[in-house]
């Protein structure tokens, strides 16, 4: 809503002021005009009355004039009267009465007065000799009377006519006497009504607007945020109303957001708490799915994780699906075109709000009834790496608000961390298990030579009796020493292995790089093991033996060879061992192939770990450190060690070493 600069209240008052000004001018003009009209009427009446008076005085003068002629015979009197009469008549004619009839009558009177004057003068002349002219005088008087009658009639007619006019004028004036008052009064009433109307209207609107705002304030104070204040006018109060509504709206919105955010936070807290209690990935998955479905109002949801070999996506937990669907999704190739695999492999979050968007994520969107109407699928990311995906499906169209999107992403984040934690916990449990196993093996391995050594020494001690001067025979002693030394050697080797392991752990193992002939080293070891090989009944078959020199730590490489050879002897006793030494461009490959018990597939990846042994066969000794040490040594030489094996048909360990290690690492 836009507002003009000056408000309607100010405008109304301004209007009222202007109105007052106009009224005053109108009032003044009105009174002036009506009083002027009245005044001119009065003037006219006055004029008419003047004519009436003049006519009356003319009649009086005419009478005295005729009287002077007929009765007094006084010329002086006559002349005085006659002059008066003429003056009066002339005055009237000069003043020119408006009515033509009256004017005509006065003109007639004047004309007759002149005739009368002539006759009168004749009479006065005759009167100088009355006796002689008696007849003539009486004749003239008769005619004079005729003139007098004419004048009299004219003047009287005029008088009557003028009286009529005066009467009419007076009636008019009298009936109009209240006109100025009426004009003034009427205008005043008109002004009063309009001013009252504007004033009342303004105050009513103001009051109404203010009341609405007051009412709204009460309502808002009571907590009713849905109350709307109507905007009555585009004035200050209207502005106030709009601002108030805006404020309430914002208040409401922020209260709502706060509530939603609070709900979400408490849910996330619940989830976090549940995660912290979850000890394995399945529990974590179930918690994620259940809370997510509840929060989003989804029809179903599932968590899937990428397998160790990063080829398949395994369903961890799901909710809201049929058994059939569950089985279908149990395991999917990571390259399959499905929402969960796409988000897991591309690390992109998908929020599909309708079926068209959903369909675009499927390879064959042939059956829409099988597809959800909307879905959200987000990757589970851990240190920038995808470990799986979290998917929620809806059987109705769904608009994802920013808060909901954030929630799903936050949930996925929490889930990834919880899954990692659960995984770490799982791993730690396993590691503890392995260590305990190692300890039992190690104690057994260490105890065997010590027991043997102790028995030999006790045997020798028992046969040695100084008081009787008795001692074992030299032959016997030689056997005791030979066995003891053998057992001590075994102990030494075990302790050396443990030392090596701890050195690797501490990173303190040092290497002496020098050039040597690998083939002669191999031959030397084989010579050393000749008797042992004979005991194990393992004939050596050398398939290829390239004469090759490498730069490496001779002692450590020999250690690796010994380890591999003894392993082959240990697990492939009674079967031949095939050895191949091949020189490649920049590397050399040394392979030992036995025909022993072999290594199960699932163990092939872990046998190079610490304390790991593929077989728990008790009749085969060993700490399970040999391959771990070998791997560490080879990797320190920037080489690699790998295994190929078929259970029950033997294993091949291949050692790949560079001819020269890169100068950087030396």
């Amino acid at each position: 809503v836009s507002f003009v600069q000056s408000s309607s209240i100010v405008r109304r008052f301004r209007l009222l002021t202007v109105f007052l000004g106009i009224f005053l001018i109108l009032e003044f003009v009105g009174i002036l005009i009506s009083s002027q009209t009245y005044l001119s009427g009065l003037k006219k009446l006055n004029r008419v009355n003047t004519f009436v008076n003049l006519a009356a005085s003319s009649i009086v003068n005419l009478n005295s004039a005729t009287d002077a002629i007929e009765n007094n015979h006084s010329k002086t009197m006559y002349e005085a009267a006659e002059t008066e009469l003429n003056t009066a008549l002339n005055t009237v004619i000069e003043m020119h009465p408006a009515s033509p009839k009256v004017f005509g009558l006065f003109v007639d009177a004047q004309k007759s007065a002149k005739e009368l004057d002539l006759k009168a003068k004749e009479v006065f002349l005759l009167s100088e000799n009355p006796k002689k002219n008696a007849l003539a005088i009486s004749k003239d008087l008769l005619i004079l009377k005729q003139y007098e009658l004419d004048i009299n009639e004219s003047l009287r007619g005029a008088q009557i006519e003028l009286s009529k006019i005066a009467n009419q004028l007076f009636t008019e004036l009298y009936s109009n006497r209240l006109n100025p008052v009426l004009v003034a009064f009427g205008l005043a009433i008109l002004f009063f009504i309009i001013a009252l109307r504007i004033g009342l209207n303004t105050s009513k609107r103001l009051g109404e607007s203010l009341n609405y705002i007051l009412h709204a304030t009460d309502e808002v104070a009571r907590g009713n945020l849905n109350f709307k204040v109507p905007v009555l006018d585009h004035d200050e109060i209207g502005r106030l109303s709009v601002a108030f509504s805006e404020m309430v709206k914002n208040l409401e919105a922020s209260a709502r957001n706060e509530r939603i955010a609070g709900d979400r936070i408490s849910r996330l807290q619940d989830i976090t708490a549940e995660f912290s209690r979850a000890l394995n990935p399945e529990t974590v998955g179930n918690a994620v799915v259940l809370h997510g479905v509840a929060e989003l109002g989804a029809s179903g949801g599932y968590v899937a994780t990428i397998s160790a070999n990063r080829e398949t996506l395994e369903l961890l937990s799901a909710s809201g699906y049929s058994e059939e669907m569950f089985e279908k999704r149990r395991s999917a190739s990571l390259s399959a075109r499905m929402p969960s695999t796409i988000s897991a492999s591309t690390q992109i979050s998908f929020f599909c709000e309708n079926i068209q968007e959903v369909a675009s994520l499927f390879e064959h969107p042939s059956d829409p009834s099988q597809m959800p109407q909307a879905l959200a699928s987000v990757p589970l990311l851990l240190e920038g790496k995808s470990i799986g995906s979290l998917t929620f499906t809806f059987n109705h169209g769904k608009i994802f608000s920013p808060e909901e999107r954030d929630f799903v992403i936050a949930l996925a984040d929490l889930a990834s961390q919880a899954l990692q934690r659960a995984q770490l916990y799982d791993d730690a449990q396993k590691a503890i298990q392995v260590r305990e196993e190692f300890l039992s093996i190690a104690s057994h391995e260490l105890k065997t030579p010590i027991t043997s050594l102790k028995m030999q020494l006790q045997l020798a001690q028992m046969q040695t009796k100084p008081e009787q001067n008795l001692a074992p025979t030299p032959q016997k002693l030689a056997r005791v020493f030979a066995v003891s030394i053998n057992q001590v050697n075994r102990l030494t080797s075990l302790v050396d292995d443990l030392l090596d392991v701890s050195r690797f752990e501490a990173g303190k193992l040092s290497f002496d790089f020098a050039e040597f002939n690998l083939a002669s080293s191999l031959k030397e070891v084989l010579e050393r093991f000749e008797s042992a090989l004979a005991v194990a009944k393992c004939p050596i078959e050398i398939l290829r033996m390239d004469e090759v020199s490498i730069v490496a730590d001779n002692f450590r490489i020999e250690q690796v060879i010994v380890n591999l050879l003894s392993n082959a002897m240990k697990y492939g006793a009674g079967k031949p061992i095939q050895i191949t030494l091949t020189q490649k461009e920049a590397t050399v490959e040394l392979a030992f192939r036995d025909q022993g018990i072999g290594i199960p597939l699932d163990k092939q990846a872990v046998i190079f770990g610490r304390f790991e042994r593929a077989s728990n066969t008790q009749n085969i000794g060993g700490l399970g450190l040999g391959l771990y040490i070998a791997k560490q040594i080879v990797e320190a030489h920037h080489g690699e060690i790998k295994v190929e094996s078929q259970p029950e048909s033997g294993s091949t360990f291949t050692l790949v070493l560079p001819l020269k290690p890169s100068p950087k690492t030396v």
Partner: protein
């Protein structure tokens, strides 16, 4: 309107009484100023002149009527034969006329002789005489229908 009814009534009344009185005064002669071109008049016209219902001649000059004194035989004859009203009626008429129109009764001359001399000297004048013996050389006699 009221007056005209009275007048009408008076005329009818006069018509009944006329034959008897006309026997008594046989002569009534109307004279005008010699310059007046008029030759004959009707009784009604003369009555109108007397009562000032007609005030001007055809040429525009003013009609000036000379009556005779109310006691004269000529006036009575004139009243009976032309005006066909009683003296009282005539008096009332003039009182009313004077008040409402300002008109007064015509000037009355004392004798036939005075009528003749006045008519002869005043243009536009008209008068009546009862005597047939008077010298009418200075005036002009007009004929009135049904009067001879």
């Amino acid at each position: 309107l009221k007056f005209s009814r009275i007048l009408g009534f008076a005329i009818i009344l006069g018509a009944f009484t006329l034959p008897a009185k006309s026997q008594e005064h046989a002569h009534l002669i109307f004279i005008v100023h010699p310059n007046n071109p008029i030759k004959d008049l009707t009784e009604q016209e003369i009555s109108d002149f007397y009562f000032k219902k007609a005030r001007f001649w055809k040429d525009g000059s003013k009609i000036r009527f000379f009556d005779q004194s109310p006691n004269s035989a000529a006036h009575r004859t004139f009243m009976q034969r032309i005006l066909k009203k009683t003296a009282r009626e005539i008096d009332l008429f003039w009182i009313s006329e004077k008040n409402y129109n300002g008109q007064g009764a015509p000037v009355a001359a004392p004798s036939d002789e005075m009528v003749i001399s006045s008519v002869a000297s005043l243009p536009g004048s008209i008068g009546y005489i009862s005597s047939t013996d008077e010298d009418l050389s200075g005036v002009k006699k007009v004929f009135v229908k049904g009067l001879e």
